[in-house]
């Protein structure tokens, strides 16, 4: 079926090593390798590479599986929020260990952090106290609001569903570098949170916490968009809300 005189290609050498080569061509490749020491050396190096990988990582197979990965346990528990730098940060906040973390992440982008957070908190303070006109588009027109803000801002603006909070609505604001979207949420007890998003200069940053008087804000950037979730000074509560926002952004993006 095949002609031993047809030169063996690079792809065939890989397929040969990975047992993906049609059986009838294997003999041709072996003959070729006998006559071409350079190719034979490469094939040999790939085999050694596979052995090195197994030598390094097969030990994982013999380890006891950690309890947190047991199926019975996972079936019983609801999904936990387990990974990602931002997720880990929120856990640190919930545990109250945020200070050390902030010190660690403080090196990157203080100016971006400052300007976004200040803008977002200003907007938060300005509109949160507004009784009759807190937003331009009410939460009852969610689809329209999302379409409008997405169109004006240039990234996908979604109003996340947040547990225990109702979407009051949103508005368009001037941001540090172009338009910003501003969404407001309210609990049954009248507690208000806002989610401010604007175009970020950085692809992604870790999360920062900031307090100004009686208002608190959590800032992070992800995929070139900066998020600031603002609310009261109750850090645990703010963190829960930010977690909800982050979780849904992550899902919609993935």
């Amino acid at each position: 079926m095949t002609d031993p005189n047809i030169p063996v290609t690079e792809d065939e050498l890989h397929a040969y090593v990975d047992n993906e080569l049609p059986a009838e061509r294997r003999g041709d490749v072996e003959a070729w390798l006998a006559a071409h020491p350079d190719d034979a050396a490469r094939v040999q190096s790939w085999r050694a590479m596979a052995e090195a990988l197994h030598a390094r990582y097969d030990q994982v197979l013999d380890e006891t599986v950690p309890k947190r990965l047991e199926i019975e346990r996972l079936v019983r528990q609801p999904r936990r929020w387990v990974y990602g730098a931002i997720a880990a940060t929120l856990v640190a906040f919930i545990a109250g260990g945020g200070a050390g973390w902030i010190a660690r992440g403080a090196a990157a982008m203080p100016s971006t952090f400052q300007s976004f957070t200040v803008d977002a908190l200003d907007a938060h303070r300005l509109y949160v106290v507004e009784v009759r006109h807190p937003v331009e588009v009410p939460g009852s027109e969610r689809d329209h609001l999302q379409q409008w803000l997405t169109k004006r801002c240039g990234w996908d603006v979604r109003a996340p569903e947040l547990a225990g909070l109702k979407l009051v609505g949103g508005r368009l604001l001037p941001g540090p570098s172009g338009p910003a979207s501003f969404l407001m949420y309210e609990s049954t007890s009248g507690e208000r949170f806002t989610v401010y998003t604007a175009k970020a200069e950085t692809e992604a940053t870790q999360m920062r916490y900031s307090v100004h008087g009686s208002d608190g804000a959590l800032f992070w950037a992800d995929r070139g968009v900066a998020y600031v979730v603002s609310g009261g000074s109750d850090r645990t509560r703010l963190t829960q809300v930010a977690q909800g926002v982050y979780d849904q952004m992550e899902k919609s993006g993935g």
Binding site: D11, H14, R79
Partner: protein, 162 residues
């Protein structure tokens, strides 16, 4: 336990191995496996037969892509993770291969590990990554060339310093 759950459970050691090599950090790796399992179990009713193994590798590969996307791309993170991974390995050979892996771009590392460590076919890897087989083969070829150069390059480079 249902047959579905049993087949998921049987895959845990292999998923941990793949995740460990992919992330080079034992904790991050187990976080990824945990999230993979949770998603798989949550979708139990949506799973209409087929290959559980490929499906789990697909979820894990995608979750890792998301994880990396949401991390700040700070190159200083790399050596830190390498040190972590290396701490558990004793063989010089193992250290070399882990370091060589860390220099690959994500798609190439994933292809290399799925084929060479996990023993998946080109077809399965193409489905996992959502690309044609030709793309899998070119990624594999580039990954192997890169790792080989990285393994070969280290020792002579040390000599040249003198």
């Amino acid at each position: 336990m249902t047959a579905f759950r049993q087949s998921v459970e049987a895959m845990i050691p292999a998923l941990r191995r793949y995740a460990r090599a992919l992330t080079r950090d034992a904790d991050i790796a187990d976080d990824l496996v945990q999230d993979t399992l949770v998603r798989a179990l949550r979708s139990e009713r949506l799973f209409l037969g087929g290959d559980v193994r490929s499906w789990l590798y697909t979820i894990l590969t995608n979750l890792n892509k998301n994880r990396r996307r949401s991390l700040a791309r700070r190159p200083t993170l790399m050596p830190l993770l390498d040190n972590n991974a290396d701490a558990s390995g004793t063989e010089a050979e193992g250290r070399d291969i882990a370091r060589a892996l860390s220099t690959l771009v994500e798609e190439q590392r994933s292809v290399l590990l799925l084929v060479m460590l996990e023993g998946l076919s080109y077809r399965e890897v193409a489905d996992i990554q959502g690309v044609p087989i030709g793309t899998v083969m070119s990624r594999l070829a580039r990954a192997r060339a890169h790792v080989r150069a990285s393994l070969d390059g280290e020792r002579p480079a040390l000599r040249r310093v003198k």
